[in-house]
């Protein structure tokens, strides 16, 4: 794995760790006001909450190759994608707290984060963000820029019509477009084998005459490599790619999910293979960082995330009648 520079590995580690710690804090924040009786609408962070613990390699492994001008669209489970695309963490957290200082002034919420400064967006409708990324790729091509657009989706979304229409368009117009399929084995309670007629979605590239890549077992290093190739190809005008990565869903589909549909053994097995730990031990083993340096890095990450939470918690709520604003610009 000498092919990955220290700088890139540290960057990936930082984003993955930041995402993980962000989500772990969110797990707790979300439960505030929801105990002892769970009520989805209660507390400072109400509504559905889809966390991404375990899925960090999918996001960090490709975003390390992206720049600010590249576009990312994400689905309902967007925090790790947003963090890897360097969305403003304070305003993102404030949005999730429904605050006036949030990215959407509290109107969007956790599934609807928009940070045009880094060209990030997400949404709650499965597969709907794919054509948006195609449109961004089309814009890049029209402008003659070497920008790339990446759409993150779950494996469940690869069976939606929008997937097919988008891939055909992107391939037809040879756009700098990449779809990253985060295969966490589940679409809510439905296992991939009950939703997808092929074992792996990389084979679907054949339907579009494009490149398909498969990353096994949530491997952050391999995700880095195939993404590098796909992004370079896209920048050079060589067209779109599908990247599927087998990843891990440590938590329920949403917080509060009773998870009666999955084996109790599944999560401990996955947690034992924590991809963040894999990167960390690699950094240390290869002499790229010491334990102490890693601790210092962690401390920085934690304080950055904590600051974002402080900002969110201390920010004012919108005024009720703000609900009528921002309809039209």
């Amino acid at each position: 794995m000498k092919d990955i520079s220290k700088e890139h590995l540290v960057w990936m580690y930082t984003k993955m760790k930041m995402s993980r710690y962000f989500e772990e804090r969110m797990e707790k924040a979300y439960m505030e006001g929801k105990q002892p009786v769970f009520n989805i609408g209660a507390g400072p962070v109400p509504g559905e909450m889809h966390l991404s613990n375990g899925q960090e390699p999918a996001a960090a492994g490709i975003c390390v190759h992206l720049k600010k001008e590249d576009t990312v669209t994400a689905p309902h489970r967007p925090h790790h994608n947003a963090i890897a695309k360097e969305v403003d963490l304070k305003r993102m957290t404030a949005e999730i707290y429904g605050k006036k200082t949030g990215l959407g002034k509290g109107k969007g919420g956790h599934m609807h984060l928009f940070d045009p400064a880094v060209k990030f967006s997400c949404g709650g409708i499965v597969a709907a963000g794919i054509p948006h990324a195609v449109g961004a790729a089309l814009a890049a091509k029209k402008l003659g820029e070497d920008w790339v657009a990446v759409a993150f989706i779950g494996e469940g979304a690869a069976n939606a019509g929008a997937f097919h229409e988008s891939l055909n368009l992107a391939a037809l117009w040879k756009l700098p477009f990449i779809v990253v399929i985060e295969d966490n084995s589940w679409g809510i309670s439905v296992p991939k084998s009950d939703s997808t007629c092929v074992p792996f979605n990389d084979v679907r590239a054949a339907a579009y005459g494009i490149k398909g890549y498969l990353v096994r077992d949530n491997d952050p290093f391999e995700m880095y490599r195939v993404s590098k190739e796909a992004v370079e190809r896209a920048r050079k005008g060589e067209g779109p790619s599908i990247i599927e990565i087998e990843t891990y869903r440590f938590l329920g589909h949403f917080q509060g999910d009773p998870e009666l549909y999955r084996d109790k053994e599944e999560v401990p097995t996955l947690r034992a293979k924590d991809p963040i730990e894999r990167v960390k031990s690699h950094l240390i083993k290869e002499g790229m960082a010491t334990e102490k340096e890693m601790d210092a890095l962690d401390a920085n990450i934690i304080s950055e995330v904590d600051e974002a939470y402080e900002f969110a918690i201390n920010s004012p709520l919108p005024a009720p009648e703000d609900a009528l604003e921002d309809m039209f610009v």
Partner: protein, 339 residues
């Protein structure tokens, strides 16, 4: 109502019991949808059915609404009676073509030669910060289009009786279940979501509103959570000296205008409350029916309360502002009484 034994059930249990009882009688009925199997439906509409009927009749699907709702149409044409779930009504936009251009029109286009006995059940409603793409009711988006019966029951009794009627109907029925009225363990627990439900099978007609509180001063027409809000407003209204008659719409299409006209003939005043968007919603349709067909009953301007033509915002403080509640109803009723 053919049965006398009554138990207290939540909305979701009432619905799933209706499905169970009908499925036991007719093996042409099957259920398709996302997470309707082991999960029992995200809003509990198929609770326990997987254990009873197995995966051939309770079918989990991929996230392919056009595919599986379209397949329901094809299966219905072959004599099956599919019940399909569109998890949230907010997702209708990925499958509306199958619903309104095919499911709703095939019977008519075929000159009545092809039947479409499909129940499309779908979760509606907000109030728990699920934001702009998961909180709508969209009653009118379905009510506007011909060929579907569209119902939105409030109470467990009606959820069961209307589900039974919907399953037995040879035409497409859009069955809107309000999440907050399902009595789910993880949502706000409200009294209206638990109620007496006869054990045996019975039907509640798909085209009849119901006067759930009699009154003399003003007619309030509402559906689902707005019916609940209207009931919650009763005490406050009485304090203001207003004796309201409350009509639970139950059927979005067709609207039971006779029940409304009869009430307005008595009260002379009308307030319509909707959890859907204001423009082109049922506040418009009910007002128009009265203003065109019962005009001379009216003695005051019609009142309309609904989502003020903005998407449902996420932040609780904003969401509360846009969804009508008992206080809004009281204020608006007073305004009408004084106009």
């Amino acid at each position: 109502m053919t049965d006398t034994k009554v138990q207290k059930l939540t909305g979701s249990k009432a619905m799933s019991l209706a499905i169970e009882q009908e499925m036991l009688k007719d093996d042409k009925i099957f259920v398709m949808g996302e997470d309707v199997g082991k999960y029992g439906g995200i809003f509990g509409s198929t609770t326990g059915l997987m254990d009873k009927f197995g995966p051939d009749r309770i079918m989990d699907t991929p996230i392919s609404e056009t595919g599986f709702i379209g397949a329901a149409i094809g299966a219905a044409a072959e004599g099956f009676r599919p019940i399909v779930e569109l998890m949230f009504v907010d997702f209708h936009g990925v499958v509306m073509d199958q619903i309104y251009n095919h499911m709703a029109k095939i019977t008519y286009m075929s000159g009545g030669n092809v039947k479409m006995p499909i129940v499309l059940m779908t979760g509606v409603g907000g109030g728990y910060s699920d934001a702009a793409q998961h909180s709508q009711t969209l009653y009118a988006s379905f009510g506007h289009l011909p060929g579907m019966k569209v119902v939105a029951p409030t109470f467990p009794h009606d959820l069961k009786g209307m589900m039974t009627a919907a399953i037995r109907d040879d035409n497409p029925v859009v069955f809107m279940l309000h999440k907050t009225l399902q009595g789910l363990g993880w949502m706000d627990q409200i009294p209206a979501s638990l109620g007496p439900v006869p054990e045996g099978d019975y039907i509640v007609p798909l085209n009849k509103a119901q006067v759930i509180k009699e009154g003399t001063d003003i007619t309030i027409v509402a559906a689902q959570m707005m019916t609940v809000a209207a009931m919650n407003a009763v005490a406050g209204l009485e304090k203001a000296g207003i004796n309201a008659e409350i009509i639970d719409l139950r059927s979005i299409k067709p609207i039971d205008k006779e029940t409304i006209f009869k009430s307005v003939a008595k009260t002379k005043k009308l307030l319509i409350v909707d959890e859907d968007y204001l423009s082109y919603g049922y506040t418009a349709e009910v007002a128009a029916l009265v203003a065109s067909e019962a005009f001379y009953s009216l003695e005051a301007p019609i009142g309309r309360l609904a989502i003020p033509d903005v998407p449902i915002p996420y932040s609780s403080v904003l969401e509360k502002y846009v969804i009508p509640d008992a206080n809004n109803i009281i204020a608006k009723a007073k305004e009408i009484m004084e106009s």
